[in-house]
C-alpha cells in the first residue's frame, strides 16, 4: 500500500507542467497546443486511473484508451511543428490504429495490460523525435537548452526509449512475478517524473510567437 501511495504521488508530478500550461496558456504559441492538451489529458487520466483502481480494481481500460489518444496527439504535435507533407503522419496514424485494434481487440481484450501497441507507438515517437532534432540542428540559431521543441524531443527520446524497452519486456510474457513487474513499473514511474519535470521546463520555454528562421 505504501509503494502504491508513492507511485500516486510520483505520477501526479504531471500536475506541475499541467498547472504551468494553465498559467501560461494565453502566452503559449498555438503550435504547442497538442502537447498542452496531452499533458492535461494525462492528468485527467491519472485521476481517472486512481478512481478506477479504487472502484473496479484495475485501470487497464482507460489506460489502453489513453495510449491511443496520446499517440494521435503526439502525431498532431509533430505535424503542427512541421509544414509539409501530411502523408507520413496519416500513414503512422493509420498503422498505429490498426496495431491498437489488433493488440486490444483481436489478440487481447481492453481489460488486459497490453504492451504491443505501447512498444510500437513509443518506437514511432522516437523516430519522429530524431527527425525533429535533426531539423532543429539545421535551423536553430539560439541556445538549444532554451528551445522548447528541443527539450520536448529530448524528453521524448528518454521517456519513450525507456517505455519501449520496458514494454517490450512485458510483451514477451517472461512469466515474472507480480513483485518484479511492480518494481519494473516503479522504474517507469521515476522515468515519468523526470520527464514531467522536463515538460514543465519546456512549457516555460515555449515562445509567445513564432520566430522567422530560414535554414542555413
Amino acid at each position: 500500500m505504501h509503494s502504491f501511495l508513492v507511485s500516486i504521488v510520483i505520477n501526479y508530478s504531471i500536475a506541475i507542467p499541467a498547472l504551468l500550461a494553465i498559467i501560461r496558456f494565453k502566452h503559449i504559441y498555438r503550435s504547442f497546443y497538442p502537447l498542452v492538451f496531452l499533458i492535461w489529458l494525462g492528468l485527467a487520466n491519472e485521476s481517472l486511473s486512481i478512481a478506477m483502481v479504487f472502484s473496479t480494481g484495475s485501470n487497464t481500460v482507460n489506460s489502453n484508451l489513453f495510449v491511443l489518444a496520446e499517440f494521435l496527439l503526439l502525431l498532431l504535435q509533430f505535424f503542427s511543428w512541421n509544414t509539409g507533407s501530411r502523408r507520413s503522419y496519416f500513414l503512422a496514424a493509420g498503422f498505429g490504429i490498426a496495431v491498437w485494434i489488433t493488440d486490444n481487440l483481436l489478440l487481447n481484450t481492453l481489460s488486459q495490460n497490453n504492451s504491443l501497441f505501447r512498444a510500437f507507438y513509443s518506437f514511432v515517437v522516437l523516430l519522429f523525435s530524431i527527425k525533429q532534432i535533426s531539423k532543429i540542428l539545421n535551423r536553430n540559431r539560439r541556445n538549444l537548452l532554451k528551445d522548447a521543441v528541443f527539450i520536448i524531443c529530448i524528453t521524448f527520446l528518454f521517456y519513450y526509449g525507456c517505455k519501449s524497452y520496458i514494454e517490450m519486456m512485458n510483451a514477451f510474457h517472461l512469466g515474472l512475478s507480480r513483485l518484479v513487474l511492480w518494481n519494473l513499473w516503479i522504474i517507469m514511474y521515476f522515468v515519468n517524473a523526470i520527464s514531467n519535470i522536463l515538460y514543465a521546463l519546456a512549457i516555460l520555454c515555449i515562445p509567445t510567437k513564432q520566430e522567422f528562421i530560414l535554414p542555413y
Binding site: 509544414t83 540542428l137 536553430n140 540559431r141 528518454f158 522504474i187 510567437k209 520566430e211
Partner: protein, 248 residues
C-alpha cells in the same frame, strides 16, 4: 524475489540508467556542436558582410566624390551660358534637367551603397532620408517614428541595411500604397517594426524555398545583431516585420 528475477530486474534497471546516460551525453555533445557551428556561422557571415560593406563604401565614395563633383561642375557651367535663342535655351534646360536626374540617381546609388556617409548624421536622420529618397518617385505614404538610443556604427549599419532591404522588397514586389517604419526602445530591447499594406506573401513557401537574396540578407544581419525576427503576412494581407534587437 527469486535470484533470477533479481538479475533480470538489475539488468532492466541498468538498461534504463545506460539510456539516461546516453541521452545526457547526446544532449551535451549536440549542444556543444551546435554552439561551435553557430559561432563559426556568425564569424563567417560577419567577415563576408564586413568585406562587402567596405567594397560598397569604396565604390560609392568614388562615385559620390568624383562623379558627383564633376556633374555639379558641368551644371554650373551650363548655368553660365547666355543663350542667344530659344532653341539653345531649351537644350540647356533639357541638359540641366538630365544632370539633375543623373545626380538624383547617383544619390540613390550612394544611399544604397554607403550608409556610413549618411549615418554620420545619425541613424534616425539616415532612415528618414532613405525612406524619402526611395519612395520619392512612387506615390507611397510614409509613417516614420524613431524613439531609440544611438547605436554604434556597426549595429547602425546593420539596421540601416535591414530597413533598406525591407523597403526594396516592398517597392519591388508588394505594390503597397502605405509603409510604416517604427523604431522604439522597450525594456531591454529595441523594436524595429516595418509594415506595408501590399499584397503580402506565403511565408511557409518562402521558408521552404527561399527565393532571391533580399530576405537572406535581412536574416544574415538579424543574426549578426543577435536579434529575432517575426513576420506576419499572408497573400493579399500586407506584411508586418517585427525585429527585436537586444539593447547593449
Amino acid at each position: 524475489m527469486h535470484p533470477n528475477e533479481t538479475r533480470i530486474y538489475i539488468a532492466v534497471l541498468g538498461g534504463v540508467l545506460v539510456l539516461l546516460v546516453l541521452v545526457v551525453m547526446f544532449v551535451i555533445t549536440i549542444v556543444g556542436y551546435h554552439r561551435k557551428k553557430l559561432a563559426f556561422h556568425l564569424k563567417n557571415i560577419g567577415s563576408q558582410i564586413s568585406y562587402l560593406d567596405q567594397q560598397c563604401e569604396k565604390i560609392a565614395a568614388d562615385l559620390h566624390d568624383d562623379l558627383g563633383a564633376s556633374l555639379s561642375g558641368i551644371k554650373m557651367r551650363l548655368q553660365c551660358i547666355k543663350a542667344g535663342d530659344a532653341d539653345t535655351l531649351s537644350i540647356i534646360n533639357f541638359s540641366k534637367y538630365h544632370i539633375d536626374e543623373v545626380m538624383y540617381k547617383l544619390r540613390l546609388i550612394s544611399f544604397n551603397m554607403i550608409p556610413d556617409l549618411f549615418l554620420q548624421k545619425g541613424l534616425e536622420q539616415a532612415l528618414r532620408e532613405l525612406l524619402n529618397v526611395m519612395t520619392h518617385a512612387a506615390n507611397i505614404r510614409i509613417d516614420f517614428c524613431y524613439n531609440a538610443p544611438a547605436f554604434n556604427k556597426e549595429r547602425a549599419t546593420h539596421i540601416y541595411r535591414i530597413v533598406q532591404e525591407l523597403l526594396n522588397n516592398t517597392m519591388k514586389y508588394s505594390g503597397a500604397s502605405a509603409i510604416s517604419c517604427q523604431v522604439r526602445k522597450t525594456k531591454n530591447i529595441v523594436q524595429l517594426q516595418f509594415t506595408d499594406n501590399g499584397k503580402g506573401f506565403n511565408k511557409d513557401a518562402v521558408i521552404k524555398e527561399p527565393r532571391g537574396v533580399g530576405l537572406k540578407n535581412i536574416m544574415t544581419r538579424v543574426d549578426l545583431l543577435r536579434a529575432k525576427i517575426y513576420i506576419t503576412t499572408a497573400p493579399a494581407q500586407g506584411a508586418a516585420y517585427l525585429i527585436e534587437i537586444p539593447a547593449l
